[in-house]
Point group: C2
């Protein structure tokens, strides 16, 4: 985990990276926090409301995908590695309608050996890692959950 | 399958339904066709481009989810049933980067008995149905694929 000002710089860079993508710029997304293990993103319900007055499923997936992508990007930054990060696949469950602002969190899935993944990336130029991302209701109940695999490919 | 002008009305109503959702209104989505079995949606790459110049994964899922939701909605309209339609879960595979406009298609998954699902909805007020949605490259190769379950709940 980097120093506080390095962390602030890394989160500012991540936010700039998000906002530079046209489909993300319209989401009203904000980086809400990163503790070295879990990245949290927020977005206002008003931008993501569906025909039933709750959060659109596509928006939930987008926010969870961006949280996962951001988590891998930040962890690679912490490790001093410059890589392109791609989502490879995901399983999503929509469990509860969300009638509040969107808050997504992403972390490594249980049992993931991050150091082994980093060794793959350093040795072979490529890694694959499993994450879990969730959107919770204001009371903490999980509204949507995604298990996703991301691939990172070393640059240059 | 309804008469041609009924079909045009149904597609216009579906498009209006899509455009009324703020996160969808920003997507530049257009209904490209419906033949009674397969719904096709388009969206311009410029609205959905990521940091690597190709289509953002969240946009691909959103478009496939909207195609699936629209397919169920149209098929229920064809059957004369008014119901709320929800996505329940999905498995998504991102197979190829897409550097062109987005074209998604959704249809019932193999082996789905639509008449049995309709009987559930009419008899118990609720049905669950499995769909497959795909986004293809301009040459027809599948760029992303989603297997998704949707739930419909009868209104009133």
């Amino acid at each position: 985990m980097a120093h506080a000002h390095d962390l602030a710089d890394a989160l500012a860079a991540l936010d700039a990276h998000y906002q530079a993508m046209p489909p993300v710029a319209t989401m009203g997304l904000a980086v809400a926090g990163y503790d070295g293990a879990r990245l949290r993103l927020h977005a206002p319900l008003a931008r993501h409301v569906n025909d039933k007055g709750c959060a659109f499923g596509g928006s939930l997936v987008s926010l969870m995908t961006l949280a996962g992508w951001g988590l891998v990007t930040l962890r690679l930054h912490d490790a001093g590695i410059d890589a392109d990060v791609f989502v490879a696949d995901s399983e999503v469950r929509y469990l509860q309608p969300l009638f509040a602002d969107l808050a997504a969190e992403a972390e490594l899935d249980e049992g993931v050996d991050w150091d082994a993944a980093l060794a793959d990336l350093r040795g072979r130029g490529r890694m694959r890692v499993a994450l879990v991302a969730r959107v919770r209701l204001p009371d903490g109940v999980v509204a949507a959950q995604a298990h996703a695999r991301f691939v990172a490919v070393a640059k240059g």
